[in-house]
Structures are given as C-alpha cells and as structure tokens.
Symmetry: D3
C-alpha cells in the first residue's frame, strides 16, 4: 500500500519550482485547532507555551497560504474563481484571528476556509 504516489503532482511553473499543496497550510491549521480545543484546561506555564506554539503554527498557516496564492495561482484561475483573492485574504486574516483567540470555533473556521481553497486548488489541478 502506497500512501503517496511516487509521481509528483506539481504545478506547471516555468523554472525551479516547488510542489504546491494546501495540505501544508491545513496541517498547521489543525495544530492551531488542536491547541485551541485544549486551551480551556490550560493554566500557568502550559497556557503560556500553548499560546506561543499556537502563534507559530498560525504564522505558518499564513505563510503556506501566501505562497500558494502568489506562486501557484495564475491569471486564468483568477478569471474562473474571481473571489480567489478574497478567499486568501480572509483565510490569512482568520489565521491572525487564531493568534488572538483561543476558542476552537476560530480554528474550525480557519480549517473550513482552507478547505474551500483546497477545493479550488484541486479543481484547477484536474482542469
């Protein structure tokens, strides 16, 4: 059983390119959410650590989304998905909200927003 195909599925970029995948942002977003689901039970040093691990993970969500937005998506995608910019803007803003807030609802909302982006991503790959 192979969990990953050996054949890489990468973006049609011109030159030395990365392999784009919304899973990178999603994994970090799930970390954010996982921390938030536990935070109501955290006090003292544990809470402090949870806060800055959440801060780091949310920053990584932003980074992976920004890279996907700038480097993967092309003008023809934008034409087909005119709210693409807005989806990325709001998802990265929501990652910022997850730094401020510790309720799992915030992380869940972030996950849903990345999921919508992932659907568009998948559709463009299959196009």
């Amino acid at each position: 059983m192979k969990l990953f195909s050996i054949k890489p599925v990468y973006a049609h970029c011109d030159l030395p390119c990365g392999v784009y995948d919304p899973a990178q942002a999603m994994i970090e977003a799930k970390s954010v959410y996982a921390i938030q689901t536990k935070m109501k039970d955290f006090e003292g040093d544990d809470r402090t650590r949870a806060l800055f691990i959440k801060e780091e993970r949310a920053e990584l969500v932003k980074h992976h989304l920004w890279v996907l937005w700038t480097d993967y998506f092309k003008p023809e995608h934008l034409e087909k998905y005119p709210d693409l910019h807005d989806k990325f803007w709001k998802a990265t803003k929501q990652a910022g909200e997850c730094k401020h807030h510790s309720e799992p609802e915030e992380g869940q909302k972030l996950i849903e927003m990345i999921d919508e982006i992932a659907e568009i991503f998948k559709a463009t790959k299959n196009a």
Copy 2:
C-alpha cells in the same frame, strides 16, 4: 466535497502539541524530485537557482522527518517497528544525498523511504 475532514487527527501527546503528518516531509521530497527531473536541462543561473532551492527543500525534508521521529513516535511504536530508528536515519541521510546529487533516482529513492515511514505512521494511527 471536503478534501480535509474538519476533525483533526492528531497525535496523542501530553500537552501543547503539534499535528504530525508525514505529508510535510513528502511534499518537500516531491519538490526535490521535481527539481531533479528538470536539472539535466538547466544551465547557468537556472542551474544555480535549482541547486539552492533543492538544498532548501531537502533540508526541510530532514527537519520534518526529525520532528516526526522525535516527537510523534513512542517507545511502544519502536517495539513494534524495531527498524524505525534506522528507517529515519537512512531517510534523512538520503535527503542529504539529494543535496549532493541531481539525478531524479535520488529523489525517487527518498520518496520511497518516506513512503515506508508513512505506512508505519498510518498503522500506528489506526492501532
């Protein structure tokens, strides 16, 4: 259609924890391989850039594998998979080989090694 479930599937760790997933190493490994498949056609500045992007990606493969090895896997996993240490050691060494070498065979070998680790990971999650 949801590409990712909202419910995060994270490791049973004690406290502020990350969400572990071999996909992080795999995505970077596929970047390494993607670059290698193109390198025979690269010269001059393009080759220089390809070399250091490959270097960075291979370093990220190492990092993600190291985190998985140290932070996710527990003594009980080691008991069941006694060659776990060796698999990680060889996979991270292979990521080093991918820095040195530009043949796609090296990247493919890396992908296969991460795939074996991913299978163990998956088995331990389902246990």
Copy 3:
C-alpha cells in the same frame, strides 16, 4: 535634525500589533534592483553569490508585502481601493520574477509596483 519622529505612526489594530510600513518591502526591492544593475558584470562565484542574495531579498519583498496586505489593510480600504488585492498579487508575483530574471528592468518594475502600494498605504494613513 530628526530623521524619524519619536511618535510611532502605527496601524489601528486591536491588540499586540506591529508597525506597518511599505518601506520594509521597498528597501529589499532596492537591494534586488541594485544587484540586478551589477549582474551583467558578474561571473563565476560572484554571480552565484549575487543570485542567491537576490533570491533572499526577493523573498523578503514577498514576505513584507504579504504581511502588509493581510495585517494592515481592512475591508474599508478594499472598498475604496478595489484593485488592492490585485496590486499585491501582481507585486508579489513580480518579486518572484525578480528571482528568475537578472535584468534591472524587472527590479525597477517591482519598485514601481511597491510605490503604488505605498501611495495607497499613505492615503489610508492620512484618511
């Protein structure tokens, strides 16, 4: 003579906030351009080093622009400047072009695109 006023001019953000300033992206963009103006004379090791310093600087341009876009700009700004998203998308894409290309025209174009963003930024600060 004071080059900087002591009173910080920072964005109206809710909580622990940064001070936003397009100058951060601009300084890095000028580095990119400065390197490009010299590259036609560079060979061998110097060229290799110029390439990866340019790569790093262009990445910093992207990063500073992304932060400005997500963290500083608010929905009311977008309403007034409906092409804001597109300006950032194209500017960060142009930073990517500056990685690929070594002609100063590419860096100059990047500088002009950041300058347009800086004008919008300034207008929103004075509003």
Copy 4:
C-alpha cells in the same frame, strides 16, 4: 506623487551588496514602543502575546543594527565618528533592555538612540 525614488541609494560596497537603511531597525523599534505603550492595559493571554511579539521585534532591531554596523560602516566613517562603535553597542544593549522591560520610556530611549545612528548614517551618505 512618488513616496520612494526609483533610483536606489545604496552603499558603496564592493560586490553583491544589500541596501542599507536605518529605517529597518527604526520600524521594528517603533513596534517595540507601540507594544510598550499598551502593555499597562494588557493581562493574561494578551500580555503573554505582547511579551513575545515585543521579544521578536527587539531581536529584529538588534539584527538590523548589527548588519548596519558591520556591513555599511567603513574605517573612514569610524575616524570621523569615533563613538560609532559605542553608539551601536549601547543601542543593541538597549534593544535587550526593551525585552526585559515594558515601560514605553525604554522603547523611546531605543528610538532616540537609533535616531542618532540614523543621523550619522545620513551624514555619511551625503559626504
């Protein structure tokens, strides 16, 4: 209206060089100060976050000052400004103080110290 001139004003360095500008340290110092002006009202999670954002920003102040000191300034500048070393040493130490302390006076002192360095920088550029 152009906020930035297109012509980059960069240091006379030999080879692949950056563009030096005390504005980089100053922007981060203003973030430090901005956080400090709000810290007396911060408690709990907000205070924790403010502390580590301040820590990061103060570290960036140090970094930008160090680069300016080592990479931009030349022996002839030192001859003309014999207390240059001391100004940088004290300014970077003050950035360290801003990590320890949360009173805006500390950040203001840092800003003033960077301002003095910026004046020397400007004088050397015009020389």
Copy 5:
C-alpha cells in the same frame, strides 16, 4: 595561549561539509539548565520570557543533535555503538521534556545524555 587550534577538526565527509561538534548542542542545553535553575524565582513577565527562551534553546538542542546524528555518524560508527540511534532519540526527546518542565533536574539529565553522545563522538574522532 590559544583556546582553539587553527587546524579544524572536521568530519570525513565527501563534499561541502560542516564541522560537527556536540558542543553546539551542549551550549544550548546549558542555557536550558541555567534558565531552569532560576525559574522557581520567576513570576509574571519574567516567567513568560524564561519559558519561551527555554523553548527556543531546547529546540536548538534538538536541531544540533539531529544534524550530528544524520550528518556526522556513519554506518561503521553504528556498528560499534549499536545504541547510538537510541541515545539520540532519547536525548532529543529529553530536550522536548525540558520544554514541558522547569525543574533543573530535567536540564541536568539532558546535559548528561549529550555528554554520553559527546564521549562517543570523541572516541570516533580519535579512532
């Protein structure tokens, strides 16, 4: 008096290589321990800062150990020291424990584990 010999003592690696030295992990581990010896007296902001400085230092311990394990050690070393993998795994896990815990005993244990690795390292260098 020379504290360091000029002649570098580096690993027998094939190509562009680093100089491996367990001192890198040890210095960071001593920082972790130093912070832990003071933490019982720390409250409020000082404690928060101590926690994330400790977090960063412990992460650096992990990183330096991982590099040593993957990049320096060779199959022939493993043959001679069959518990090498386990020593590294447990030492990096102990660095993780030092993030969770603030008792100096945890840091002392980490130092002892790195010391054992350093002895093996030294033996392999003299072989």
Copy 6:
C-alpha cells in the same frame, strides 16, 4: 570521562539569560575554513553548493559574534579591553570577507580573530 562539566558556566546576566561561548562562532568559522581548503578542487554544482554553505556559515559566525558582543560583554570589560569593540567589528567584517573570498587564508584569519576574542572572554570569566 566527562567532556563537559554539568555545572553550566554562564554569564552574570540579570534575567532569563543564555550561556555565552565563543565556541559557537568558532565552530562555524572552522566550517568556513574547511570549505575554503577544499574550494580550489571544486567545480560546477559542487562549487555552487560550497559557496552557499560557506555563505550561511559565515553569516552564523557574524550572528554568534554579535550576540557575544552585545549580550555578554559589560562596560567594565570594555574599560579593561578598550579595543574590544574594534576586535568584534573587524572579526565580523572578516566573516563578510570570507563570503567574498574562497582562499583558506581568509578563514584562517577569521579563526585567529575569534581566538583573540575567546582569550579575552576567558580572561573575563576567570576574573
């Protein structure tokens, strides 16, 4: 046989503090030198990789020296060693030279400069 004493020898700093040690800069400087000793035999991809590994290592030398200068040394040390600032300035500039140049003489000079700093450091620790 213990290679490292368990008792950490750290600087007399006020609060959450690091453990300072010129060995950190020295290890990286030895990497720089090690690479330079091999560079005359390097061509093509190997040379490219050697160049950017050397670049990274030299940057780390700078960083570790800067931290030592700003964070460890105190006004009383400066009084006793009035050329302390200059020694650090020149050593970090020499690290920059090692980025530009590939002759081992440059790296050796860097090592000697760090060695002088290390002697002062040791003297201040024993004071």
